[in-house]
């Protein structure tokens, strides 16, 4: 009974809570028991605050949209009174003194943010191996990565140790781990969800979004979090539709789905490509129209991204100076040594690597050649999407070119790790929305019959989440990939 309670979707749990079949305290206890049983192997959580969660559960108003629903939160989004360490030594011991706007809205809707999920340090990575504290494992194969950077959030949702989780997506960090762990991951359009209280990595690319067991749950959480926030001047003043209702009412008949020809070239695992092609055929069978489109600047996406994201990161991470919060080097002699040693001791290797690259591309004499040029190619990439979306409602492609890889397999070669982001980063550069959903399973060639999830990605125009989620829902409701659960072996 307890384990089946933990495996509920947010929508199903909330219905049981509202009908008073289950109390918020029972739901929380079931989840805590599941975490106790499983997280020692999975290591998705950096910390939980069950004492606070139990108090909140006792007083929860189950008539609210998320009343009494516990939510896991990536360690980069501020929850008042809880740690927010970005899985970095430089913020060890830091507790957020305020709520992010997304958290404040979730709390106002009745949700209980109770646990901090592991991630790549400062959200820099694609495997969660860059966490300063622990390795999180893929629930489908404990010898493999959960993806990243929101790897903890994806793993806990897939393993039923969370009903839903928040992640952040700067270049695919919600969608790629969702694909590798077999859950739903939504990156909202830039400006759809306030970034206030999110520790900044790359401010022109970052977005907060949900990782969930179903598309309906993603729609529910997005509806709660979305909307203009005076505390984030980049959040847009666009109406927030009832996403959950829009998804339910959506008709796939006649929807136009675009196949970007540049996304089906070389380097994709054949089983991943086959799953995406099967999804395309499935959509055609459901009555969607399939059109071929072109995104001619795709080959430059990784280069543009790793200039712009690192440039912004090098500026954002300058705030970690050992004065107002975080680690401070002991016994330094003078200001430069204070900064240099504080940051050397606090940051891990990938963060250092990106600070160096970002500082270089912004430095005098190289700014025009790298940063300015990358911003111009970014314009061309945005225009590619505008032209493509004149012909279709959404694009379909793989989320990741490969299923989950082995722990340690790619850590030695940063460029190889970066190139694996090819299908996700363009959405961040263009500011559009994207979702990864369970679309099949691959058999691991080196591991007998071991099944690993495959993610199918849909991309939609900016602020077209209603239709994007509707199209995703139509697939999900006519397939059963999302209903499979990992054995945690």
């Amino acid at each position: 009974m307890l384990s089946t309670l933990a495996s509920l979707t947010v929508t199903a749990l909330q219905a049981k809570l509202r009908a008073r079949e289950v109390s918020p305290r029972e739901a929380l206890d079931a989840l805590a028991a599941r975490i106790d049983a499983v997280d020692g192997r999975l290591r998705g959580y950096l910390s939980t605050d069950l004492e606070y969660a139990r108090r909140a559960a006792e007083s929860a108003d189950v008539t609210l949209p998320l009343g009494g629903v516990p939510i896991a939160v990536k360690d980069v989004v501020s929850v008042a009174g809880q740690p927010c360490g970005c899985a970095s030594k430089i913020l060890a011991g830091y507790r957020a003194p305020f709520d992010a706007t997304a958290i404040a809205r979730l709390r106002a809707a009745g949700a209980i943010p109770f646990g901090r999920t592991n991630m790549d340090e400062f959200a820099m990575g694609s495997s969660t191996e860059n966490s300063a504290f622990q390795l999180t494992r893929n629930p489908w194969d404990l010898s493999r990565v959960p993806g990243g950077s929101s790897g903890g959030s994806a793993a806990v949702v897939a393993a039923d140790t969370a009903f839903a989780a928040l992640g952040t997506d700067t270049g695919g960090s919600i969608r790629q781990p969702a694909a590798l762990c077999g859950c739903v991951g939504l990156k909202p359009s830039y400006g759809r969800v306030s970034r206030y209280g999110l520790v900044a990595f790359a401010s022109s690319l970052d977005q907060i979004g949900p990782l969930t067991k179903t598309v309906a749950d993603a729609a529910l959480l997005l509806g709660v979090m979305a909307g203009r926030d005076p505390l984030d001047s980049t959040s847009l003043d666009a109406p927030v539709p009832d996403y959950a209702a829009a998804v339910r009412d959506f008709s796939i008949k006649g929807a136009r789905i675009g196949l970007p020809k540049e996304y089906f070239v070389s380097g994709i695992d054949p089983q991943v490509e086959a799953a995406v092609r099967a999804a395309v055929a499935h959509y055609a069978k459901l009555g969607a129209e399939i059109v071929e489109v072109s995104l001619p600047h795709t080959e430059y996406a990784v280069a543009v991204y790793y200039i712009i994201a690192t440039a912004e990161a090098s500026a954002n991470l300058a705030r970690f100076d050992g004065v107002r919060y975080g680690h401070r080097a002991a016994d330094t002699n003078g200001l430069l040594e204070h900064y240099g040693r504080t940051r050397a001791e606090g940051f891990g290797p990938e963060v250092k690597r990106r600070i160096i690259l970002g500082t270089y591309v912004l430095s005098s004499g190289y700014y025009d050649a790298y940063y300015l040029r990358a911003q111009k190619v970014r314009t061309l990439m945005r225009q590619d999407f505008e032209k493509a979306f004149a012909q279709c409602d959404a694009l379909i492609c793989p989320t990741s070119p490969v299923p989950a890889f082995k722990l340690g397999e790619r850590t030695a070669d940063p460029l190889a790790m970066y190139l694996a982001d090819i299908f996700t980063i363009a959405a961040n550069l263009a500011g559009i929305c994207g979702v990864s959903l369970p679309g099949g399973f691959a058999k691991a060639a080196d591991d007998g019959d071991r099944e690993l999830p495959i993610g199918v990605q849909l991309l939609g125009p900016a602020f077209a989440e209603e239709k994007l989620l509707g199209i995703a829902h139509a697939f999900e409701q006519t397939t059963d990939w999302h209903q499979r659960r990992p054995a945690l072996g």
Partner: protein, 96 residues
């Protein structure tokens, strides 16, 4: 072999106020050299008539009313300070 002979990791680390070990300098010099070789592909794109994109959704001049708002009391603002005294952050001496 690096296509970026101009990348001087030791110098950039000084600009970034980030002390690196000799081993880190050597590793980053090689790894970031490979990244910059990849990035060099951008030189092939004709961007002569293209405006740069700084932000995904172009919004400009977002104003708010200039009204006082509640803020943290000192003990909260200082709650994460590695060193503090007299309700103030303690900083390293910067003038002799």
């Amino acid at each position: 072999m690096s296509a970026a002979p101009d990348l001087d990791v030791r110098y950039i680390a000084q600009l970034a106020r980030l002390d690196l070990s000799e081993a880190e300098i050597a590793t980053f010099q090689t790894q970031l050299g490979h990244v910059l070789e990849h990035v060099a592909a951008l030189r092939r794109v004709d961007v002569s008539a293209v405006e740069p994109t700084a932000h995904a959704s172009a919004v400009f001049n977002v104003f708010r009313d200039d009204e006082p708002r509640a803020s943290f009391p000192p003990e909260v603002a200082l709650s994460n300070a590695p060193r503090k005294a007299n309700e103030l952050f303690v900083v390293t001496k910067v003038v002799e």
